[in-house]
Amino acid sequence: MTITDTTAPQATRRLNTSKAMVEAIAQEMRANPEVFYLGEDVGRYGGIFSSTTGLLDEFGPNRVIDTPISETAFLGLAVGAATEGMRPIAELMFADFVGVCLDQVYNHMAKIHFESGGHVRVPMVLTTAVGGGYSDGAQHSQTLWGLFAHLPGMKVVVPALPADAKGLMAAAIRDDSPVVYMFHKGVMGLPWMAKNPRSVDVVPEGEYVVPIGRANVVREGSDVSVVTISLSVHHALDVAEKLAGEGVSVEVLDLRSLVPLDREAILASVAKTGRLVAVDEDYHSFGMSGEVVATVAEHDPGLFRVAPERVTLPDVPIPYAHSLEYAVLPRHDRIEAGIRAVLR
């Protein structure tokens, strides 16, 4: 975990991920009057997934703004305001809804800087909730980060742990390029979802910035590399702890951002272990898991001591029924099986 701030963080205060994220937003809003937050139910409600709790009280309705259900209009508004030098944070309530507004995202937010030959900047953050695991069905459980990451011109950050949620948010707001900040509902530490111990952790107070584009070895190991992101980092750590008891040393690499993708970190880990399990809660094909595997193969297929495994959401819409959803999500059981498969 990279700390770039000057004031030494206090190592004791623990926050859940949503509070860590909100703390970064509040600090940046205090520091820069051009930062504002808009989206559906981000005001009095505080964000359906607690992404803005308390911000309305501190900053008022001129800077924490509830919008109509008009994603194209308000994301486009953020794009335009950013080109005029403001620093908007626009929330798309669920990443699943990007289909109603993708054009503003990838043909405008992500392309204007390039099309202008670098003369226009679009310093905005697009925040959005991702992920399943609580039976919200096929239209409310997708991660879709592979879709965003495939389209050039926007950075894509996906924090897994509370401190990163803070530090990456600060970095995203300060970035002069558009940044998509994808928070998994399951890592937020919400009181009304399954409790996840890793969603509460020490979070530095004060200014805290994690540079975008650097993966993090959240657990060192020598037998197998689990390369993953978001909630799957939590699961992978759980599995790694369990397998440690059997004498298996699992390294867990949290990519933290998909764009830029820290290919060196992937290569370094696989060069060490020779065994790769790419774990991805996004759809299997044409996405992150393939990119991770290909990154190693095109560098040197000889790094693979055995064929790599991909533990992913298969290419199927996400089913509602708990028994079916848990069958397709990359959870502990399947991650463990993936690791065992490469340990042959």
């Binding site: 005001g43 008009s70 194209t72 609580y134 069905g137 298969p314």
Partner: protein, 331 residues
């Protein structure tokens, strides 16, 4: 239509009341089952009915008043809050409930859940994406028109959805091609925590019909008789080949946006019981001599019996087999 202009007769009104009671009874049962095993605390992913749950208590006048004019050959597309419409349109309660419980005998064999009820028998569908249930209704209407039938499609959304692009595109296309669609907006004053005044630049979406050259009407006060009359005009117009209409109903969301919603944003919580349309309608029909206390009790009891049978059916249905999780991606 003179028949609708003069308002519903006694028989129709009794039917409207009965439908509303069935819808409410259903939502009460789902409410109970939903919360039965979410604890300790509230974990949305737990229990026999996990996931988001958007209930329709208070909005029954829309469903009853509109669907009274339809047969199962007509199509209805609904939203994330679909139960009242599904029931009023005649969906099989057992298959519907089994789907909400995520069971193999559900409409979608447990794949869909409560926001994704697809019923070929009643041409009912819904979607959890705001306003995106409107465009498919155009296609159903298109098929009905091309096949020379007088069948219609009813497309329903909330007032919050009327600010989404799909609303505009759908009304324009339907008007242009004179498709047999009735667009219904359920104005319950809220889109989650955002009041209509913070989402919609005009007080009534009926105004927006002029942007497409089609009739627009707003029914105030959640009045099922008035909904019935206005919907009758719109459905008749569509059946006659005269094209679409827009009908907005000022209704009320008695409960939270979804279950678990504490509604801290909502100032008028205390007055909600007084705005419940069902006791109000019961009193009106009693005054008019159309219903009496005994009939009301009988209807409630009959509704309970049907609903509890559906819940029992759902609970008895098997859980989907995880080894089938990859089925039904392609036909």
């Amino acid at each position: 239509m003179s028949s609708t202009d003069s308002g519903p007769g006694a028989e129709v009104r009794r039917g409207l009341y009965e439908t509303m009671v069935l819808c409410r009874t259903y939502e009460e049962a789902i409410l109970r089952e939903y919360h039965a095993d979410k604890g300790p605390g509230f974990d949305i992913g737990k229990g026999l009915v996990p996931g988001e749950m958007h209930l329709s208590a208070g909005q029954e006048p829309v469903a009853a008043g509109v669907c009274a004019h339809l047969t199962s050959d007509d199509a209805v597309t609904a939203t994330h809050r679909p139960h009242h419409l599904a029931i009023a349109h005649g969906m099989d309660l057992e298959a519907m409930t089994a789907e909400i419980f995520g069971r193999v005998d559900g409409l979608g064999r447990g794949r869909g859940g409560h926001m994704h009820l697809f019923d070929p028998a009643t041409h009912f569908s819904c979607s959890g994406i705001i306003a995106e249930g409107y465009p498919p209704a155009l296609g159903m209407a298109f098929a009905f028109q091309r096949r020379g039938t007088d069948r219609v499609a009813v497309a329903v959304t909330g007032e919050g959805a009327a600010n989404q692009g799909a609303f505009h595109e759908s009304l324009n296309l339907a008007a242009l091609w004179r498709l047999p669609v009735v667009f219904v907006v359920e104005d319950n004053d809220w889109g989650i925590s955002v009041p209509r005044s913070a989402s919609t630049a005009v007080p009534s979406n009926a105004t927006r019909a002029a942007a497409y050259g089609i009739p627009g009407e707003r029914v105030e006060d959640n009045d099922v008789d008035a909904v019935w009359a206005a919907a009758g005009r719109a459905v008749a117009r569509a059946r006659a080949g005269d094209g679409p209409s827009l009908l907005e109903v000022h209704t009320v969301r008695l409960w939270g946006h979804f279950e678990g919603d504490a509604q801290g944003y909502r100032p008028e919580l205390a007055e909600l019981p007084g705005r419940d349309p069902i006791p109000r309608y019961a009193a009106r029909l009693t005054d008019a001599g159309i219903l009496d206390a005994a009939a009301i009790d009988r209807m409630k009891a009959a509704a309970s019996e049907r609903v509890e049978a559906a819940v029992a059916f759902a609970k008895a249905s098997a859980l989907p087999d995880p080894s089938d999780a990859l089925d039904f991606v392609f036909a």
